[in-house]
Amino acid sequence: AQSVTQPDIHITVSEGASLELRCNYSYGATPYLFWYVQSPGQGLQLLLKYFSGDTLVQGIKGFEAEFKRSQSSFNLRKPSVHWSDAAEYFCAVGALDSSYKLIFGSGTRLLVRP
């Protein structure tokens, strides 16, 4: 079965430091990949997505992610973290058996030190 693994449950970084959140997926071909962010008390918001083409995708709020087929990874990065980035981040992959279903990882909670 398809799966998405986010190996880090929690990550703490200092404000202004760089950030990388890891995501690995189980499907070998070119998948549809997404990163969503969930701020406290709010719904999930799409940060960026990858369907095809350039493997480095830019998203909102200064985030980017790189698709690496050889590593089955889609890691999220930001060069300089702001306190407002503290939230939970979910990686997701489009399900093989449908055009609309997403399979989500278990999330990574980001804490930002002042």
């Binding site: 998405v4 709010q42 719904g43 999930l44 369907f51 399900a95 609309y100 399979i103 989500f104 278990s106």
Partner: protein
């Protein structure tokens, strides 16, 4: 409306009672989804609506769970004879037509079954 609205935001119920969770999607969005977020886990797909039809109910955990959508708009997720394992955050999302589009999520209903 401006965003996806879910009610109630919190629901505490006793084991064995029935509950109804409501989702009001963004106006004009034909696709509507329900996901469940259990503690420490990723989002789990429950059901997908296209208009008032539910072509995919494959994620509903048991026959105690049902959902409907009326007028191509509001959706209600009903859980009968609630069990403690039903405790979770129930998230609703909508998108314009379905497919690999950006999903717009509500802030969820936190269900606690005592």
């Amino acid at each position: 409306g401006a965003g996806v609205s879910q009610s109630p935001s919190n629901k505490v119920t006793e084991k064995g009672k029935d509950v109804e969770l409501r989702c009001d999607p963004i106006s004009g969005h034909t696709a509507l989804y329900w996901y469940r977020q259990s503690l420490g886990q990723g989002l789990e797909f429950l059901i997908y609506f296209q208009g008032n039809s539910a072509p995919d109910k494959s994620g509903l955990p048991s026959d105690r769970f049902s959902a409907e959508r009326t007028g191509g708009s509001v959706s209600t997720l009903t859980i009968q004879r609630t069990q403690q394992e039903d405790s979770a955050v129930y998230l609703c999302a909508s998108s314009y037509t379905g497919g690999r589009e950006k999903l717009f999520f509500g802030s969820g209903t936190q269900l606690s079954v005592l």
